[in-house]
Symmetry: C2
Subunit: 172 residues, 2 copies
């Protein structure tokens, strides 16, 4: 089975991102707006149960943290993904590192750029048009993240949450 | 915000149900196949946090249980919902009752019939056709349920998981 780890921002931010994803992201119906912490990887259900325990322990070692978004950016020319940039800071970078060390996945081939995808799989022309329009918009926004989610993918591509983990000691 | 409580069956069962939902359920893209424990209700985010604590306590008071599916059934003529019937037993009925007592929602107007929706919002003719075909199929299946999910709905109708709760004492 295919698993991944992500965090979902507030409903307010998800609704804002969905207003664009609806038109520009073919994964719109497969998962709610999210920030990927561990890229999709293959494992067995038995192994997932072991990983879930490790992820729960890790969650308790990290305190809730704030994320701050500012501008719309793009991974072009690496790929035509338009995203809402989340300002990197030590807390999210440390969490990302620890979770990826636990999963020990080879899927993390790029440097971690915390982001929430707004559009993807666009042709070069579409990308140019959409990015030209969106990069003016951005959203100055700050909110607290107090949990992350371990998910798995169904055969149709949809993601289902396996378990949520609250950050911090008081979550116990 | 609109919240609800549901459980997701195994990936195997979700994939089977989705093979039909794809054609017969307009909610296909909004949520993965699920069994509703508390119907959608309105509450504030602050109140949801209080409810989450109560749901977590309730989860610890209920042990994991088995669900058994057998046949495809329909709520017609009440409404044209075709569903995979989950055999009712004390464990799921008790959990349903306690969760609804916690939420104290007036949404629960029907007797609890544990089910996983396969098709809905069908015209009478469609319902007659589809039900005629599917009621022969059914799926004899048994599996263990060890968690349930507290969810909220985005403006576009999609559901996002707020938190998962594992059943039983050892979940602590």
């Amino acid at each position: 089975m295919r698993f991944g780890v992500a965090l979902f921002p507030s409903k307010q931010l998800q609704d804002w991102v969905n207003s664009y994803r609806k038109r520009y992201d073919p994964h719109y119906a497969l998962i709610a707006p999210h920030l990927t912490l561990v890229n999709a990887f293959e494992t067995t259900e038995e192994e997932a149960e072991t990983l879930a325990r490790k992820l729960r322990d890790a969650a308790q070692q990290h305190e809730p943290f704030k994320i701050r978004t500012s501008k719309i950016s793009s991974f072009h020319p690496v790929n035509n993904v338009i995203y809402l940039k989340v300002e990197p800071d030590d807390k999210i970078t440390d969490l990302h590192k620890e979770l990826n060390d636990i999963i020990d996945s080879t899927g993390q081939t790029y440097k971690f750029v915390p982001h929430i995808t707004v559009g993807q799989k666009l042709s070069d022309d579409e990308h140019f048009d959409v990015y030209g329009t969106l990069k003016m918009q951005g959203i100055e926004h700050e909110e607290e993240i107090d949990r992350f989610h371990f998910l798995y993918q169904l055969d149709n591509g949809q993601w289902t949450v396996y378990e949520t983990f609250r950050l911090g000691k008081e979550a116990e």
